[in-house]
Amino acid sequence: MKAVISKIIFSDRHTLVVLSAAIVTAIAAFIISVSSNDLGRENENLKKELKEIQELGDELIHIKDTVKSKENKIGLTDVSGVVSALEQILKNLGLEAKVIKPFGEVRINEFKEEDAELQIENIDLNKTVNLLYKIENSPVPLKIKSAAIKTTFENRNIFTLNITASLMSKPR
């Protein structure tokens, strides 16, 4: 029976044409189906990413603005070093540091960091906040890398403040 059927398929032109067309269509349909499924999966991933980016959108713009502002600061200002920048801020606030110790320069990607440790004793919360604000919003590109605030044993409203600050610049 199988032999008869294969003989018919290969000898009868009409049957051969119809079956060949069916096979070609099946292959084409299979290929289309596979690409459609692949594209569908890609769309799902894209939708997910789009949703994530949309959610991040405002935050991204904010981060971008922050980065841009810092980069602009690097381009605009010309300061001699992190120690003088910190001293300038302290002077403006009427504060005196116990220690200002420069750590040297480190290169990170396209930027250069000049670190310094600042220690102030017997500072109240208000002055601490003012100092932190002045450093974070300084016209020179300063950033706080770490900070430690401890109350003193004698008076809980008086603190010892340790800050590691960096002055950012671009290597010339």
């Binding site: 049957t15 119809v18 067309a21 789009l50 991204l60 990170i108 974070e136």
Partner: protein
Amino acid sequence: MKGFIDWIDGKLSLYVFEKKDSQYILTDTLSTRFEGELDQSSLTSLVKSGIEHIYLSVPVSLLSMRELNFPFSDKSKIKDTINFELEGILLGNTVDYSIDYSITDSSENSTRVLAACMEKTKLRDVVDLFSSVGLEPVVITSLALRLSNGNIEKLLESPSDAEETRKAAAEEEIVSPSINLRQDDLAYKGDIDRIKKSLRFTGVLILLLMLLFGSITAIKLVSTKKDNTLIKKEMNILFHDVFPEEKKIVDVQRQFKGNIKSLMAKNKILGGMPVLDILLDIASLKHANITLNELNVGSENISVKGTALSFENVDEFKKALSSSFAGVKVIDSKSSPDKKISFSIIMESMTHEEEKT
């Protein structure tokens, strides 16, 4: 069911056989008599439903019988040469005859055969006549040939065998026909035609199904492509909003990822630790039974140390911190001599956690 039509001069008999196990059992017999030439009206009385294949035995009067001797016993050789052997013996040309043979005697070096020849025009008429009433014969043979056992004299006598003998011979013919005159261009093609038809029908059905499936998937593909274009367009707009300075967009998805990555890296380098924000977040919790003594803000984590009135207060403070910070853990909490609980909590800023993911 199989039917065997025994055609002898002036009489037609239809023997109906049913296959049970490997044997054919006679289940019905129909007979009809006719005068003169056989015609459709005589055949209609033999029409019976449910018969798959019809075998026809033609009368000897329609056949030209010739006895031949071959100096070999190879059946394929006999088949190949019989037409040449019959050339000149038959009236007219052998190509106008449908020829088959039955071996009557055989030895190692010789074979005697009885050739049964029927003019193709006559054979075609017979086939057409029987086909016209739905009794197209699959095999055309002759019972007389089987019953004569190759004795040509007996063959030429008028059929005198009892009906029972003929029925038994018919059964044998169904199992193994002694000759079959439906050959070559007159061969039975009913089954093949039926298979052809069903194959074509199946093929057309498959083709239609595939076309339908193909069309549906093609529509789906087009719609998915449209969706893809829309999503990419939306991404392009968003990309322009966030990075308006980038004019050339080749692969928005990749460019987005790349830009976000470099933006985050720059932000990490330039941003520093938002100590004031952290202070504000902690201060805004306003937990009455908690007194903080120390705050350490580092690039990796943030730690707070303080005292509480109870362990429960420490736990509540930890839970409160979890709303603003990630990975909040109490690393130390112990009772001090003044009955207060001193504790240490370690945590990470939310943005640091996001950067890690």
